[in-house]
């Protein structure tokens, strides 16, 4: 049933996307990689730096793509990552 | 000239196999809109009304000279919503016309052809094919030469004594470039044609097999250009021997790009760099420049389905090959080659296999010995509107081959162009269809470089439009 739509929808700008703030507690991360794997918009990737635990924590590729689904928040076993909605103050 | 009885269209089309399909024609005008001859002969040639006349007044259709003006480019067939083939319908009517004694109508047609085509002999031989309907080719050629001389004498009287100061550069001496040169020279501009090969003609010289266009006729037509003052510089390739930007510095006020599509598409398959695997354009140039490759008694495999593939196969057979087989990855309906020529090729002994694609080339001591093919099936539509071929697992088979000719499509080599000249997605130059001007002011383009591989008559038509545009453009410069 799903048809292949080739057009970019006309209201793609209008559909309000909440702006996200991704907070990563680098030193709490144990490098399991679940957040990177399960992010539906592929916003995270493994960074090159090494944290206090000796592993590579994730880093944000493009914060604009984050849809605030909070999968990463839910799946991290160490509570090392969470997202917050950016409050619209100065005409964002 | 009247015959004893009135001929009906049923008799005329009795032996035409697709006559049943004609009932679907609903006079939409798409054939006339896509016809380059209708564009060139503005108002004097209308394929749609000839088609209608065949049904309503068959005698008038047969007696008309318009019947002989189809140049076999098959553009109408590709656009027709009913998939009709006007060139073949006209051929059937022509054959009947010759039988009923209306063969002389072709003389009027030649008059019109000579009027619009700057390469009359080339087009008569390679585009109009009067011999297919049973006319005598030598007579036709003599008649054409006669009318050509008459026409040129008339036209030369129009050339004024004082020529314009404007200079025009034409890159590429194919049919498009030569047409632009011809037209502008008669309008008193100074035209210089730059040609990369050692002799002018473009595809006409390089790839058209000699049996389709004997080179002496091409030379005769090009002589005319030299006569009226066009300078043709051979052996100079833009981008290598001189820079595109240098043309403006040299004082050329307008530039026409007619470089054609001479770069064969690459086939990314294992073994493609084995000895004996050649690009079709290289193969044809070898034959046409006299260096006939050794194919006697060999098995030749041609990969591709366009006109170049068919020409390569026929040439290979003519050079003495034991067997020449074309392998095309889609079916006969999607084959881009001229359907009539495909039939002629098959009559000459060329074999064609459909729905096959090469997987790898197998070699022996660095020389190709066989090709592994996989059978294909047609899936969903892709971007070109044709069904995408998908491989059928486990259907591989091997065919022995002494030479493999790759003819999977040609693209223009436009590496020399500045970024201001925008290209289409498929790598051809984008032009305004009304003026043939590119996105860079004063630079025009036409022919295969714009449309991708197409026919001679389309290139001539594009050249005419471009020449008229260039004339307008140069006049507008004078007014400033």
């Amino acid at each position: 049933m799903p048809e292949r739509f080739w057009r970019t929808p006309l209201d793609i700008e209008k559909v309000s996307r909440p702006k996200a703030e991704i907070h990563i507690l680098k030193d709490q991360c144990k490098g399991c990689g679940f957040c990177i794997q399960y992010c539906p918009k592929k916003v995270l990737e493994e960074s090159d730096e090494i944290n206090a635990r000796g592993v590579h924590p994730p880093r944000v590729v493009d914060e604009k793509n984050c849809i605030l689904c909070s999968f990463c928040t839910a799946i991290c076993p160490d509570f090392a990552i969470f997202v917050k909605e950016k409050q619209c103050k100065d005409g964002c | 000239m009247s015959t004893a009885k009135t001929v009906t269209y049923k008799e005329i089309l009795a032996e035409y196999p697709d006559a049943e399909k004609l009932k679907f024609c609903f006079e939409c005008g798409i054939c006339t809109a896509s016809c380059p001859m209708a564009e060139l002969l503005k108002g004097e040639y209308n394929p749609r009304s000839i088609l209608e006349k065949i049904f309503l007044r068959s005698e008038d259709a047969m007696a008309s000279d318009e019947l002989w003006l189809c140049a076999w480019c098959y553009r109408c067939y590709r656009h027709c919503p009913q998939a009709l083939k006007p060139p073949e319908i006209f051929l059937q009517v022509r054959k009947f016309a010759v039988k009923c004694g209306y063969g002389r109508a072709f003389e009027n047609a030649i008059r019109k052809i000579v009027k619009v085509s700057p390469l009359p002999l080339v087009t008569i031989l390679a585009c109009f094919h009067p011999e297919r309907a049973g006319l005598n080719l030598n007579e036709v050629i003599n008649e054409t030469e006669k009318l050509k001389k008459e026409f040129l004498n008339e036209k030369k009287k129009e050339i004024q004594a004082e020529s314009s100061k404007r200079k025009v550069a034409v890159i590429g001496s194919g049919p498009a470039g030569l047409t632009v040169a011809h037209e502008l020279a008669f309008k008193n501009y100074k035209v210089t044609v730059f040609e990369a090969l050692s002799e002018p003609g473009g595809m006409l010289r390089r790839c058209l097999p000699a049996y389709r266009l004997p080179r002496e006729f091409l030379d005769r037509d090009i002589e005319v250009l030299k006569d009226i003052g066009v300078k043709i510089e051979t052996g100079v390739a833009v981008g290598k021997d001189f820079d595109f930007s240098s043309l403006q510095k040299q004082g050329y006020d307008a530039i026409f790009i007619g470089v054609g599509a001479h770069k064969g598409q690459e086939l990314r398959v294992e073994g493609v760099d084995l000895n004996g695997v050649v690009h079709a354009l290289d193969f044809l140039w070898m034959v046409n420049s006299g260096k006939v490759p050794d194919v006697k008694g060999k098995h030749v495999v041609v990969i591709g389905g366009g006109n170049v593939a068919v020409d390569s196969a026929r040439t290979a057979l003519q050079c003495g090959a034991e067997e020449a087989t074309i392998f095309y990855r889609r079916s006969v309906e999607e084959m881009p080659a001229n359907p009539w020529e495909v039939k002629e090729a098959q009559n000459e002994g060329v074999k064609i296999e459909f729905l096959v694609s090469p997987k790898k080339f197998l070699g022996d001591n660095g020389k190709v010995s066989a090709v592994e093919f996989v059978r294909m099936r047609l899936g969903e539509l892709d971007e070109t509107g044709r069904r995408r071929p998908l491989p059928i697992e486990g259907s591989e088979f091997v065919k022995e081959a002494d030479m493999v000719i790759l003819a999977i499509g040609e693209v223009p080599d436009l590496s020399f162009l500045p970024k201001d000249v925008e290209l289409n997605e498929d790598g051809t130059i984008w032009v305004n269809p009304l003026t043939m001007e590119t996105t860079l002011k004063g630079v025009f383009a036409g022919g295969d470089a714009v449309t991708g591989p197409a026919s001679i008559i389309e290139a001539i038509c594009a050249g005419k439009i471009a020449a008229a545009s260039i004339d307008c453009y140069l006049k507008s410069l004078d007014l400033r």
């Binding site: 006309l10 909070s70 | 939409c28 005008g29 798409i30 749609r48």
Partner: protein, 801 residues
């Protein structure tokens, strides 16, 4: 076995000049009088007329006729008429037989009077031979369930549902999408009155939602259908919405859902979320979650934003698909049509050039509830265009796309669209490029004139190609103005392709489930194009709307009411009689081998091992006769198509000049209908074929073919429905098997197996039938007397004679 004398009356109809024009009816009647058991033979001008019928009734009484043969048109047309005549005169209706000397004789041999007359005589001889062996029969009555199933919830389905429900019957309305409404819900205004489409549809949709007699099953599909007229058992798969009916459609869940995707309802022009309602006026208004898009997969719930936002706590991720079984008496198919995808025409640049849109996308743009709020804007820069072009006949009337029919609605749709544009933006220049403007209905011509008055310019000549200007994204159309005989190269801001309608891509599924036939265009085939336009050939099934052919809203609604009325007739009667063509068992001969039980498509025969015989459930029998053909002990035969009757027909044909004749067995539903269609279309073919009608090609037992050859027939043709399209589900597979065995036997005995031909032909393929006869004629002409004799010997040995 009554010792009653057989008294046959033969009527040879002139049918005006339809038959008399190519057949000498008097001669045929005179010939008929010489046949055994015939006591009366007449020729008459219009036998089916009142006077003709009165004549037959009178003759039955006066001459004590106990069998009647009418040689006229096809039994598919008038057998019911004449059977009624016999009944009214006191004669059992199964003692009547027809010879088809019109569709299968006079109309296909228009120019060979002598041969046509000879053939007519043969056909009458065959009918008389069978009539002599006919026995009276009584039909069993089956009760009809007074419930209806409607497949498809577009305007046609909705109208049919309301009509049936208002009459008092229970209706199940099954719709594949989450909401009813179909295509009509997406359109902005309707022609010719320019009514707002959803405004006139929404009240009807609401009525359907509230009607006590209508059970609405949305987001559901029919997956299995078993049974027969009046007694269908249908399995419907209800796909889960994941939202309970407590949903108040407040929309808070959609606001917080993070996932978005192009909305199918808006033709991909706008976005929707994973939890959504297709459009504002959806019925039922309950929201639905698209699990392909939702982040929660395989039962793992991580994102619960919608659950938190829902005040009614209506979201339930544990919902599962449910299969329900419904018992209904009638089915109405209102599945609608798809829209042609112009990506198949690369010269128009759809899906490459942003400003080339289809008429459906136009409807959504100009609809006030659509993605642009009713502003017609160019997708490339969101500006209102100043010059617009409509291109007609995109995908329709074209041999190249394979859709050669006219889609009816596109011309009027374009005219309506152009008036809508002029209403809002009067300065916009509008050009319509057409080949023919079809404004055939009521008020249509007026709308066309109005459009011309408003300044819409109509140019006759379709563009050959569309070229885009890279900088402005404008489009050049290059074509020929055929009326002025001038080429045109025009520039436009936006181009709208007036696409046609095509059959649903998955109409094959419904076709298989309900054993329906399709015409060459791919739409469903009605029983008779003029006299039974909403009935399917299968009893108890009716059509409404675009499923049967492209049509506008008025015609869809009209047809829906007609289908509801037809279904109502059946259900009002409360019972339906089953035709008495069920099997007859000779218990003595039955050896309980069970072969017949394996071939019955309806599982109507069971093997009783204790009693060492088979048992037949007559109500479930479809009447194909495959069991009778399969029985190796001659214990089974089919009522009204008994072995003796068929053999009598074969013998009648092969009595004279058998070596020049083709004996053809044609199935009633496809092959015979196809031969009729060839006749209706006046396709001519050689006159030496003699057709014997059976209900199904599965009835043709090998012994019939052997008998024909043993009697010296030149060739035999066995014709049936295409595999998969068999009216009796799969009985024709057995035909294939039997013919292959016969071919092997012929080869083994040195016979030319080309003399036996197998043809699959549909009711719409008259041409195929005619060309097959031409092909076989060549075979007949080349047969030597030696071959005829050899075949006679081979098959006489095997007991054929």
């Amino acid at each position: 076995m009554s010792k009653e004398e057989i008294r046959i009356g033969v009527y040879v109809c002139h049918c005006g000049l339809n038959i008399a024009g190519s057949v000498d009816c008097k001669e045929v009647a005179e010939f008929a009088a010489t046949l055994p058991h015939v006591v009366l033979a007449r020729d008459y001008r219009y036998t089916c007329s009142d006077q003709g019928q009165a004549l037959i009734k009178n003759d039955i009484r006066e001459y004590r006729l106990n069998r009647v043969v009418v040689a006229s048109c096809s039994p598919r047309l008038h057998e019911p008429t004449f059977r009624k005549v016999c009944e009214e005169a006191g004669l059992n209706k199964y003692l009547f037989e027809m010879a088809n000397i019109r569709e299968q004789c006079s109309w296909v041999h228009l120019y060979d009077r002598e041969a046509a007359t000879e053939k007519a005589k043969d056909l009458v001889k065959m009918a008389v031979a069978k009539a002599a062996l006919l026995k009276p029969a009584s039909e069993i009555e089956v009760p009809i369930i007074r419930k209806a199933l409607i497949i498809g919830g577009g305007v046609a389905g909705i109208q049919a549902a309301l009509d049936l429900a208002d009459t008092g019957y229970k209706v199940y309305l099954v719709e594949r999408e989450p909401s009813i409404g179909g295509m009509m819900a997406r359109i902005d205004k309707t022609f010719p009155t320019m009514d707002c489409s959803i405004c006139i549809l929404a009240p009807k949709m609401s009525d359907v939602g509230h009607h006590p007699n209508i059970e609405l099953l949305t987001n559901s599909e029919v997956v299995d259908v078993k049974g027969y007229i009046g007694n269908f058992r249908v399995k419907v798969l209800k796909k889960p919405r994941y939202v309970k009916e407590d949903c108040s459609a407040c929309g808070e869940c959609s606001k917080v859902c993070p996932m978005t995707a192009p909305n199918e309802f808006d033709a991909g022009l706008a976005l929707r979320h994973a939890i959504y309602t297709p459009f504002a006026q959806a019925v039922p208004s309950t929201y639905i979650i698209d699990m392909n898009l939702c982040l929660n997969k395989d039962g793992v719930i991580v994102c619960d934003k919608c659950v938190k936002a829902c005040e009614r706590q209506a979201i339930d991720f544990t919902m599962k698909p449910e299969t329900v079984e419904l018992e209904v008496g009638t089915i109405i198919v209102a599945t609608g049509a798809d829209v042609f995808d112009p990506s198949a025409l690369p010269q128009y640049g759809y899906s490459k050039y942003l400003n080339v849109i289809t008429s459906l996308e136009f409807e959504r743009l100009i609809n006030a509830g659509g993605p642009s709020g009713g502003r017609l804007i160019r997708p490339s820069d969101m500006k209102v265009p100043k010059r617009v072009a409509f291109i007609q006949c995109v995908g329709s009337r074209s041999n190249k796309t394979g859709r050669t029919y006219c889609s009816n609605v596109c011309c009027m749709n374009t005219i309506k669209d152009s008036l809508l544009i002029k209403e809002h933006w009067p300065e916009t220049e509008i050009y319509v490029f057409y080949v023919d403007i079809r404004a055939y209905g009521k008020g249509f011509e007026d709308l066309y004139k109005r459009a011309k008055k408003e300044g819409v310019i109509f140019i006759r000549g379709l563009p050959a190609e569309i070229i885009e200007d890279k900088r402005t994204r404008n489009l050049w159309l290059i074509g020929e103005n055929t009326l002025l005989k001038e080429p045109y190269k025009m520039n436009f801001d936006m181009v709208i392709l007036s696409v046609g309608l095509e059959p649903r891509k998955d109409s094959e599924v419904i076709q298989r489930l309900l054993t329906l036939s399709r015409t060459q265009d791919g739409f469903f085939m009605e029983a008779h194009p003029k006299l039974r336009p909403v009935d399917a050939a299968t009893g108890g099934i009716f059509f409404a709307g675009c499923a049967e052919a492209p049509k506008d809203i008025k015609d869809s609604v009209t047809q829906a009411s007609a289908a509801a009325a037809r279904a109502g007739i059946l259900m009002a009667k409360g019972k339906v009689t089953v035709e008495a063509i069920t099997p007859i068992l000779d218990v003595e001969k039955c050896k309980a081998c069970g072969l017949c039980t394996k071939v019955c498509p309806y599982n109507a025969i069971t093997l009783n091992k204790e009693l060492k015989r088979i048992e037949i459930v007559e109500a479930a029998c479809g009447g194909c006769g495959t069991c009778a053909a399969e029985c190796p002990s001659d214990a089974l035969t089919q009522n009204h198509f008994t072995d003796e009757q068929i053999i009598a027909q074969i013998d009648a044909v092969t009595e004279h000049d058998a070596d020049k004749k083709i004996v053809a067995f044609c199935c009633n539903w496809c092959a015979y209908a196809g031969a009729d269609f060839a006749g209706v279309s006046r396709m001519q073919y050689p006159p030496n074929v003699r057709i014997i009608r059976t209900m199904c090609s599965g009835r043709v037992a090998p012994k019939f073919v052997e008998r024909a050859f043993a009697r010296g027939a030149a060739a035999v043709l066995v014709a049936g429905c295409h595999p998969g399209d068999c009216h009796y589900i799969n009985a024709n597979y057995h035909t294939q098997r039997r013919v292959e065995r016969l071919w092997k036997k012929m080869e083994q005995n040195g016979l030319n197996k080309e003399r036996l031909q197998l043809l699959w032909v549909s009711a719409a393929e008259g041409e195929r039938f005619a060309s097959k006869i031409y092909e076989m004629q060549k075979i007949v002409e080349n047969i030597t007397p030696k071959e005829i004799e050899l075949a006679k010997k081979v098959f006489q040995k095997s007991g054929g004679a």
